[in-house]
Symmetry: C2
Subunit: 318 residues, 2 copies
């Protein structure tokens, strides 16, 4: 059964009004935030949301606040019409696609613009690396949400502005969409845990759900960035899921020494010409590194293949 045609909303006040009207009619709203270029993984998040609420909002917005000026914001893939077709292909479809133009344009920020530019120089002088494309473009936005401990490890080490940008844009989207339930993919495991903690700590009236990774038939975790891999790198990138699966099997057989599991995984990715950014076995909630597996953990990996950085992970529940 083909899904319905979603209403496309670009204005944030209109978006909030839609939710409030629906809520007053006793509907519940599920929300799936995305950066577009949708794949089966995103569609599985929609299907997960459908289990919890009767109305579904999907946002499509590439957030400059989570990219450093030297990252791939300008080349991030997009295909809005294709995205709409994919959302229509989901049974029961989605009700609204929220597709704002610029969530950092407040229309009255001339003063913010000037000050922001000055502050960038100050921050550079202070040697701070927490500068995103929002500050780089002098948008005058200066409020940021930080989950101070969880943001530090894993991807936070090599992408210092990333989780600050994610937590902030998700706060903005939550305040605009005002959903009852929000679904995040466990593919971005640290992001999911950060949002979960943020929702608890800031008392959002929203239930956060983590949805399992969807993989290609050969094991590659689905990602919008996969399209940027050359055919050779696409093949080499399989080493990540292969390494994680092997670790999970070994752990199942009784190997609880994380150092050995990690070395073995790094070797597999190295041999496939991948450049490992990190490979860590961490506790599932705190994301603190674990030396010996005694309770459920998650093995998280980030690695470069050519110019593409991929992340993947596998929960080991022993």
């Amino acid at each position: 059964m083909a899904g319905k045609e979603p209403v496309i909303i670009t204005d944030k006040e209109e978006m909030r009004k839609w939710t409030r009207t629906m809520r007053s009619l006793n509907h519940t709203i599920g929300f799936v935030p995305t950066m577009g270029y949708l794949h089966e993984g995103h569609l599985s998040l929609v299907q997960e949301a459908q289990k919890h609420t009767d109305l579904i909002v999907v946002s499509i917005y590439v957030n400059p606040g989570q990219f450093s000026p030297n990252e791939d914001l300008s080349t991030y893939p997009s295909d809005f019409q294709g995205d709409i077709q994919k959302l229509k292909s989901v049974a029961n479809g989605v009700d609204v696609v929220f597709h704002p133009k610029n969530l950092y344009d407040y229309g009255n920020s001339e003063m913010g613009l000037i000050r922001s530019a000055e502050r960038i120089n100050e921050k550079e002088n202070e040697g701070l690396k927490v500068l995103s494309c929002v500050e780089d473009k002098g948008m005058g936005h200066e409020t940021w949400v930080r989950v101070e401990n969880l943001e530090k490890g894993l991807c936070g080490k090599s992408r210092p502005v990333f989780f600050r940008g994610v937590a902030t844009i998700v706060t903005k989207l939550f305040n605009i969409v005002e959903p009852d339930v929000a679904v995040f993919g466990k593919k971005d495991y640290q992001q999911w845990r950060i949002i979960q903690r943020m929702v608890r700590d800031l008392d959002f009236g929203i239930k956060v759900i983590g949805s399992d990774i969807v993989r290609e038939h050969d094991g590659l975790a689905m990602s919008s960035r996969n399209v940027k891999l050359s055919p050779e790198d696409r093949q080499k990138a399989l080493s990540i899921s292969r390494a994680l699966s092997k670790a999970k099997v070994e752990a199942g057989k009784g190997q609880v020494n994380c150092g050995e599991l990690i070395n073995s995984a790094i070797q597999i990715i190295d041999e496939a010409d991948g450049r490992v950014d990190y490979a860590e076995i961490v506790e599932q909630e705190s994301l603190e590194p674990v030396e010996t597996i005694k309770r459920p953990v998650v093995f998280c990996v980030a690695a470069w293949f050519g110019k593409v950085r991929l992340v993947d992970n596998m929960e080991i529940n022993i």
Copy 2:
């Protein structure tokens, strides 16, 4: 006309449910966050809120997140029953008093507790001063909202955790109370501007209103902390409003040199035995220091009298 008896709500889920029920019945909700020990200034905020919405929520909660461990959290004055009586004395009264016990107790934070204690040591080693009573007591809360530029000057210099704590608790309260309008006193001018900016940057669906300072008959700006002044210091503290009024008169007569206006004000407070923390003339929105008055500014002062730190300010609209 005596106001009605407010409903007292202590549970955050119950609070949110009340708002949503009222909103579905087409009511609008005004919100006045306070730390209790109410005075005429607070009551004027309630009256301001009544102009904008038909229902009023007042929160009474002393927020540990905005106090440093070495500040006056434990001696902050409180009188809950007296506060209720004062709120009842306002014409048309208030509908709900939200009086939570501990907004940082999430019930499931054993892991957070442990990690938080470790992080405190780490932060102390890093020489960071952004440690509030929340971290000091190991409550496991780790998400903070920061308005990065506006929080730096004025009170931010001597109270490095203060505005981080204020922005975060106001976010929490906004997410729990979900009001349409929130009223803040301009007595805490920097706080008001920070909340205004935060609401814009994080897309809260809330209108923020700044309400004028209420003064005692002799000019002292009303504050819950005034009760802690000795009779002698209470008299000396009048030097702040006297200094500000004089500056305003002089500016009205054409004195636009901020350095001279500031020196004159500091001298008046000094002569009254006050210890000036800061005295600055700043632009009203950006709070950037101004050298020559060319457009509306605000003269902000913080000074100690005995063990009590008072803040006051005066807008100079020339």
